[in-house]
Structure formats: C-alpha cells, structure tokens
Symmetry: C3
Subunit: 257 residues, 3 copies
C-alpha cells in the first residue's frame, strides 16, 4: 500500500482460498492485458476468457503467455465447455485444454440441459486433467431454482471434484443469483451459506451494488467474480472500506467529532 491508514480490513495473501477476485477478459489486446496487470496484478487471482471469445481472439496464445508470465491462471468460460458438449466434442475440448496448457476449466449448464449426474461426471473426468470450477444457475431468467436445490447441486458438484462452485450471474448480473433488475436474491444467498462453506463459493457480482452487498454480508474476503478488468481496483477499495459504499462498514474507531 502507498501509505498507512488505521483500521483497514486485513486481506488474505495470495495464493488465497478466500477473498479472491475473478476478472473477465472479453477480448483484451496483449497491451491491454499488460496494462490491466500493471494496476491490478496484485488483486486479481484468476481470469476467465468470457464464453466463446477465445474461439475468435487472434491473439489468444500471446495473451495466455502474458497472464502466465504474471502468475495469473486463466480459464475458458463455461459456455465454451457447453458448446463442445452440445456438439458431442468433449474429447476435442480436452485436447484444446492440453494444447493451450490450461490448468483450470469450468463446467456449467447455463445454456444446455444436462442430467445432473452427467454434469458431475464431466466434473470428475476434467478434475483428473485440470482444477475445475463448476457453475450452478441458469442463464435463463425464467428458470428459478429453489434454495434447497442450489445447495444440493453445489454439494454434489464439490463432491464430484469441483474446487469451487460459481453462483451464476452472467456478465450483466441479471439472472441466477439476481433478479432481472439486478437485485440480489438475498434469502437464497443466506440459505446457501447455512450449508456450503463460503470459501468454496465464487459469487458472480459484476455490478457495484452486488459487490457491496456481498462484502457487507460476508466481509472483505468474500470470493467475487465476473469483475470487469477496470473495476478490479475499485472493487479492492470497496473491500477495504475506502469507497463511500462500505466506508463506515469496517470502522471500529470513534468519530473525531
């Protein structure tokens, strides 16, 4: 930190299980990745190449090299996994993970319908090859999953080998954990947390109001994802109580007047 302030919440050090930040790269240039890492390299823990953007990105290998050199792991968005599955190309997907030396992968069913045992089977198989993040929640705003089912699905996916489970929100933050207005389904989150340890969950929270909500409920070291690259520094200040939104939340000092 550049100067000293009292009563700042303590952050976990890297590599961390709690308090990590997943950012989404939806088509950065090599230089933009370098710029992003210059400012946020200490604060971002993992980067998702959003949905199928890796298919069309001409600079893919170079970008992966830059992230790797900086010690930031990357993975392809779950929609890409689904694009291979729906085409019956799972073996091709495994080969692509190898080709690009990926050490993480996401298993999701946001756009396709998979019997849950089949999904868990994919998690198991991929876990032998890479570290798996699995995602719960539909991209379809009309598919409402009740809380007990979120818990059941998350537990089964962790048992199948997922390192962490992701609560779905999309880039826009308007499905899954969130109502179409972007408002958090708070009862849902609270019920999930009675059963699943919070360090095992990565909450997608692309909008500032959502980040604030999770940080106020779960503290500075909640795992948050789908953060835009230029919002990682702002998010870090929200975690530390240095933006208006959480300014008073972490303070235990007496006011001077």
């Amino acid at each position: 930190m550049n100067y000293s302030l009292k009563s700042i919440p303590e952050r976990e050090a890297k590599p961390r299980e709690r308090g990590f930040t997943m950012a989404m790269d939806k088509g950065l240039s090599v230089r933009e990745v370098e710029d992003f890492l210059e400012v946020a390299g200490d604060y971002v823990d993992i980067v998702k190449l959003g949905w199928g953007t890796s298919y069309v990105s001409p600079n893919l290998q170079k970008k992966l090299d830059v992230y790797k050199a900086a010690g930031i792991p990357t993975y392809f968005g779950g929609t890409l996994f689904e694009a291979f599955i729906i085409r019956d190309q799972f073996d091709d997907y495994r080969r692509i993970l190898d080709k690009y030396n990926m050490t993480f992968a996401e298993v999701s069913d946001g756009s396709i319908e998979l019997p849950h045992e089949v999904k868990c089977d994919y998690i198991s198989k991929l876990s032998e090859q890479v570290t798996v993040l699995s995602e719960v929640g539909s991209k379809d705003a009309e598919k409402i999953i009740p809380p007990y089912m979120w818990i059941k699905l998350m537990r089964a996916e962790l048992e199948a080998g997922a390192w962490k489970v992701i609560g779905e929100a999309r880039e826009g933050g308007n499905v899954g954990l969130f109502r179409s207005t972007g408002e958090v389904r708070s009862g849902l989150v609270e019920e999930i947390l009675t059963e699943i340890p919070f360090e095992k969950i990565l909450w997608e929270a692309p909008q500032k109001a959502q980040q604030v909500w999770f940080i106020k409920l779960l503290g500075a070291n909640v795992n948050l994802g789908n953060i835009a690259p230029n919002e990682v520094i702002p998010l870090e200040t929200i975690r530390l109580g240095l933006r208006g939104d959480t300014f008073m939340h972490f303070l235990d000092v007496e006011k001077p007047c």
Copy 2:
C-alpha cells in the same frame, strides 16, 4: 479460428456486402486503435468517427493512417455533415473529405430538417466523390416515422446513389429503430424488410439485446453498426452462437443427452 467446432454459422469473407460490422470510434488514441485492430481487425469492416469528434481529436491524421494501413475504411459521423450543411459550408465539407483522403461519407438529417429532395441531392453529389452511406431516422425521440415512409425514404436514397442506408439508433440505442426503453420496433423492421434488400441496410444496434434481436431475425450475416470497439469480439461470438444469447439458435445437432 483457434480450434474447430462443428455447426458454426458460415460468415461472409471480407470485403463483404453482408454480415459486416461498423464500429464507432469516439476518441480513441493511436495505441487504442492499434489494440482494437489487433483483436478485432478481422471482424470490423468500417469505422465511424462519431459525430463531430474528428473536429477536436488532436491525433486525427495519425489515427486515419493507422486504420488505412490496416485496410479498414473510415468515415465521419453524419452529424458532422449536418454541422457543415446548417452553416452553409457544403463546399468546405467536400474539401475536408479530400484533405483527409476519405473514401466514404455519411449523409443524414438526424439533427436538421432537410426537404428529402435536397438530402437526395447531397447524396448524388457526394456519390461522385466518395461512397455514401445515408441515414434514415431522427435523433429526436418524438419524431415517429411510419413504416411506409421509412421504405419510401430508404428507396429514394439508394436510388440517389447511397451504397447502403443506415437505420438510426444513436450511440445509446434509444431513438429511431428503438423505443426510448431500447426495445426494437419490431413491426417496423419486418415491414422495411419486405421492400428493401437486407444487404442494403446497416442497422445501428449498440446494445447487446438489439444485436441479439437482429441476429436471431436476420442471421449471422446481418449488417450491424454503432458497435463499441471493445464489443466487436463479443458481437462476433453472438453472430456465431458462442454466447448464451444465441447459443441454441444456430444449432442443428442433436443434444447428447
């Protein structure tokens, strides 16, 4: 493409009449243009320097050189044409197109009132000098043009020499083709398409929901414009069915389960 996926919609090759993407530069630096072209150079067909931004951009000539070297044509936004017309400086405008070696220009009447024969006359004159895109639709949310009139205007402007006609939406996507909420005026678009060939129309669709709507209706190779530079890669994935929004739309394979 970086790897092989079955059942991906075929895209027209450049230079193309269908499926092209117009992006809007509203003040990029030279390096930002280079970054943009590194990732999206294969997907963007033409770049508009939005409204009067070229007047105040200190790096104008350098940027035009970078676009030119990459083979991406550029043009000044229609509002600039109107700024010259309302000041009775049409000849100055023609000299500026020459000075900057522009090969495209836009003729519009979004902010001024022009009798339609006068507008068509400008299209004819400029067509002798450059390739003309003409724009139909007002920037004024209260000026509702009925469908038969859109068709009549578009047809006359194509006959006057316009290469393509643009359906107005502004940067925000809330006028012309769209209701103030950003919702597409779908009956209007469908009626227009009964009379005007779709490759002659460039639809302004700055918002993701609008892009999805046009791609679902008109396919991967619809012409779309007013795309933000960092949204060209995301748009390409929507065209290809590799983002949740159009994921199932282009698939003819059987689901594996």
Copy 3:
C-alpha cells in the same frame, strides 16, 4: 481544431476559471494515462484520483509523474480525506500530500458527519498548504439538503479558503444534485446560481444527459467534473454543439432550407 466551422462557441483558454473539465481516474495504467492525455490533454484541466484508489494503485508515483509532465494537476478524492479524518490521522494526510507533492486537495463530508465549522477549519488549514476544492452534498441518497442550505454551505466554504466548491454527484450521478434516477434537481441548481458565481462551482455530471443539461443552462464554459477519461472528447463536442444533443443550441445561422 482540425478544420474550420462557423458559429462554434468560444472556449476559454487554459489555464481557465470557467469551462474547465475535471476527469476521474479510477485506476488507469501509466500507458492508459498517456493515451488519455494524447487525445484529451488539451481539454482536461484537472484529474481526480477517485476516492481511495490511490491507496491501492501500485503505479501511483509513476502516474503522478506523467500527469505532472503534461501540466495536468491531480488531487486525491475527498473520500480519502475523510478516511484520514475519521481515523484521526489529519497530520498523516498532510504529510502524504507533501510526500506526493500534491498542489490540490479536496475537503468533503460525503461519508462522515462533520460540524460545518470543523469542515471549514480543515479547509482553512489545508489552504495554507495546497489549493482546496471543497465538496457540498451527501453521498447518502436520503440526505436531502434544501437550497438555502447549499448556498449557505458553499458561501462559508469559499470564505474559509476553498478555490472552488464541488456539487456532489458521485461516479454514478445519482445523489446530491441528482435524483436517484439521475434527473437533475433543476430548481436547486437555479437557486444556487442566484447567489454563488458560476465560475466558483464545479458541477459533478458524470452522465451525458446531465452534461447536456448544464451546458444548455450555463453555456459551453460551465465547469464540469467526474467525467470518465474516454468521455472527455465526447463532452468537448457537446460543449461545442457538435453532437446531436446540443446541435441547435449554439447556432445563430439561418438554416439553408
């Protein structure tokens, strides 16, 4: 300017008391600062490092050097001042201003409660060290300050030594001067202007509709702040009547048809 247009509003020259633009840097890289200044260096007058972002920005000193070399003064957001005050670290804050050779500082009470004479006392003390901008208005959407009180507060802060007073809007433009919808509290602004000279006020107006509103009411040379770096060029075109929103506003020429 790159070419000549008649009837363009005259802009004050730098350094200026009127018509200046304050931009907000919320975590730019060094290269992004260079890019920003390449395109907007002539149009931006001062840059705020938003709230506590300077605490976590690893490139802080390098960025300050780049801004300084370009002749653009910078200051730390008012929330950082408040973070030091609430921790009873005012002397530390003064040392940090010295350490980074800051020549401007902001005094605000958007997130803390300060008796107004205490706030004015901070303005007086800091005025001996740097040029002070003071901010009126709460970040709390529920704290409505009546117009006569805005005037009383602004006047007292100017008398205490503030160079200019800032009308609070936050990054999102939804508090203080604005309703939660982003709509301008127009009666408030008009009443303030009956008592406080407009060159002494810097209006925070991050949203385009707000910028347009102020420019239509107060002209091309109103002081506006909290502008995103990539919106400084668009804002300059709005000031000059070269974007649709203010296109007709500054024109005194006759229409050609």
